[in-house]
Subunit: 466 residues, 2 copies
């Protein structure tokens, strides 16, 4: 389908719809930030940016785009890693970051209703004041909740608590034709037709624009304790994880990390990590309502680790010590980025008992392909974040090598019954790998679903399955 | 779309595909059971029934049906309540109840792989031997897991543990064109394209036929305690529930029940209930890994109940006593059915703090419409099971009154921001109410999704959104 060539008339019409010069950016007034997301390897400038303040504004712009056949790309705070918020067909970017109000805390239904531009870190902070808890905990705390919903972000606590989709009860969505619909609500169960709510979650802004979300909260666990456990080799560390799972304790989080990432984070944050003398670490958290209950759980796990070759078990039971460890963990991405000129990432998820095999394989690839690869990730849920570093390669060498390494890694993931993305999504950058990974029937069905929502293919075109 | 008129040739061709006379039923050999589900108000005989033993057999039959334009309706053990398994366009019924093998318990990934015909009660029993736990707990334990997946069944423990969708990690599905695809797998997170797994769950056999499921397990809680709490009025009982939720304790289950249902269950089971002297009861369960931990949780809740007018708190901490109470709860549907000549049900879900208002409203409707209405249900998750009893009404009176009462009840549910079905689904019987309840855009999108999976509309036609 051909899109309309965007004209200054379109800009004026959109400006008329919004009626606020400051929130409709055109031409030179558009910051280069709007052309890219966090990784930056795909860049296209939009023709116009609308900083929306309400679902009604989103609806108006969407209707205009629909009637005039202009592509629209929704955007949160641009922390994505796969180009999902990049307007690859130009046209309109709707920036939702100013729709950032927390609308309602309902303590009787344990729900929080928010606008899409609220930042993840604000949600956590807000509900904790009421002794409540929003469990999803992706590393990137400056992401918007709308972005988290769009990628079905997972994060550290997925081992015990699941992912974003599990905490979305209801959505207000502007459809590609501009109509505003509500899906789900405050209800706990829902078997009323196809699972549109679950489908919108993780659809990366291609099926509708989320303008409001009803989130499910839990009571805040009264206490959390983290264990930092050094091992002499990464293999020993990761191979311990299936034993922990099998032991029937449920840690909140199980992360693995290597010395290189820790040292990079120390330098990046200018803060020492509690220990960096070992090659590899598991970092576990346990939460619960009493110290005794948590101790009972973690003691068994500590013993399993020691029996499997752990060199020590460092227990962090104060908020400060835990903050020191977890802020380092949260800085890994930025710290690794600072080590090199450019990088790209692989966010595969494999069954939990295949993590060790996959990480070992990345080390083989690092050698055979002569390129630096750094990884860390969620050992407890099988989701790995693997970074391929450009270093001093020229553009052609880098593109060739990167593509080759990715092909090799995704192939391995398929062999282990893994999936292309655990939580970062497909966006633009991972489309070829999704295509190779799924049966062609699944891709065709996804295209059909896209068509059901967006017959003119104007909402975030060229993403996910097209 | 016109379907092919089913002929004896079609029967012979299907028999050739399966090659087993005993599992391809035709004409007089088809039991009347295949024309109906548990409620029985919609009945249509199929032309042929295939009792499949494998995904390959399902695929062969589906391909034949696809090429010859014959409708196919999948069926588990027929315990549904909305006609989803009734072959309303006749044609082929594929009975999956003989695909009843538990295929693999994976203790490292905490998954159980099953065929769709495995009964819910078998899953619970099987995994408990390994100290593992499959949390979804619908009342109907003779339902197949395939049926539970098709309706996204919820059950008693949804308050703490969520619903069936939350425990399905992967599916093998035969598509309407007969192709077999795998969706998801043993992975814990997945953001690889649209959420086809979540969409198939709850689609009531209209998008594909589930031939294998990878279920997520949890460690079995070591201990459970139930509290049976009598109140002098149902209002007092139900109005306590939001206070319990707000108190930040998380019971596993919160059910409400009235004396009438208890007495009916006592008669039906020929077993006395621990107490039937009060008008209304809350039944709560708490689980955890130690008696102390559970006691700490339930003591607070018991106090809230007593402050809100509870007459007593009966604690059941032995398996026998809990079994006695919960088996009565499990028999409510059958027991109410035995009270009357025929009945139909409403399975609305409302926000948890609206349950009391809705139940009060059913009492008003009972009076104003001069018809007996019995209800019980999941007070903790807002999902009510409301039964409208025919008693001595003639067919015309019954149909008119039933339809009128349903209209009134679903209208009230919409006013309270509820949904048509919490867990029983839409099937055939609830289509008009889904249509009234959802925005027309949502229904159109659902039709488009159906088309993406089933362009010839041969799989379970006339259900959910069509």
């Amino acid at each position: 389908m051909e899109y309309k060539e965007f004209s200054v008339e379109d800009y004026k019409n959109i400006l008329d719809l919004i009626g606020d010069n400051d929130r409709v950016l055109y031409g030179e007034n558009i910051s280069e930030d709007y052309s890219r997301d966090e990784l930056g390897s795909v860049r296209v400038m939009p023709n116009v940016v609308v900083q929306a303040l309400s679902a009604e504004e989103v609806s108006k712009v969407m209707k205009y785009a629909y009637n005039n056949n202009i592509p629209v790309t929704p955007r949160g705070s641009g922390t994505g890693l796969v180009g999902a918020a990049v307007p690859i067909k130009a046209g309109i970017v709707i920036d939702l970051s100013k729709m950032n109000k927390i609308l309602e805390l309902d303590e009787e239904n344990l729900t929080l209703t928010v606008e899409p531009g609220v930042l993840l870190m604000e949600i956590g902070k807000y509900v904790e004041e009421f002794d409540l808890f929003y469990p999803p905990d992706p590393g990137e705390k400056t992401a918007t909740i709308g972005g988290n919903i769009s990628t079905n972000a997972g994060g550290m606590r997925a081992v015990k608590y699941g992912v974003t989709r599990d905490y979305v009860r209801g959505l207000e969505v502007v459809l590609p034709n501009g109509e505003i619909i509500n899906i789900g609500g405050k209800v706990v169960k829902n078997s009323s037709g196809y699972a549109l709510k679950d489908l919108i979650v993780g659809s990366e802004g291609t099926l509708g624009i989320v303008t409001k979300a009803v989130l499910r909260l839990l009571p805040l666990p009264k206490k959390a304790i983290s264990l930092l456990i050094p091992f002499d080799t990464l293999d020993n560390a990761i191979e311990t994880v299936p034993k922990i799972i099998k032991s029937k304790s449920i840690p909140t989080a199980i992360e693995f990390m290597q010395r290189a990432a820790i040292v990079a984070a120390e330098e990046f944050l200018k803060k020492p990590f509690p220990d960096n003398s070992s090659d590899a670490y598991l970092l576990l958290t346990f939460d619960g309502n009493s110290k005794e209950e948590i101790e009972r759980t973690y003691e068994g796990v500590a013993n399993i680790c020691l029996e499997s070759g752990a060199l020590d078990v460092f227990i962090s039971d104060t908020e400060e010590r835990q903050e020191a460890i977890w802020s380092a963990r949260g800085a890994f991405l930025e710290a690794i980025k600072a080590l090199t000129t450019e990088m790209d990432e692989v966010d595969v998820v494999v069954p939990r008992n295949k993590v060790a095999e996959f990480v070992k394989f990345t080390h083989e690839v690092e050698e055979s392909q002569d390129i630096r690869i750094k990884s860390f990730g969620h050992a407890g849920d099988g989701n790995l974040h693997i970074y391929i570093l450009r270093d001093e390669l020229n553009s052609e060498e880098w593109n060739n090598k990167l593509n080759n390494v990715m092909e090799i890694l995704y192939k391995k993931s398929r062999e282990l019954n893994g999936q292309v993305s655990g939580e970062h999504g497909i966006g633009f950058a991972k489309k070829p790998f999704l295509n190779e990974s799924l049966p062609k029937e699944s891709i065709e069905i996804m295209k059909g679903i896209k068509l059901a929502f967006d017959p003119k293919n104007i909402l975030n075109p060229g993403k996910v399955c097209q």
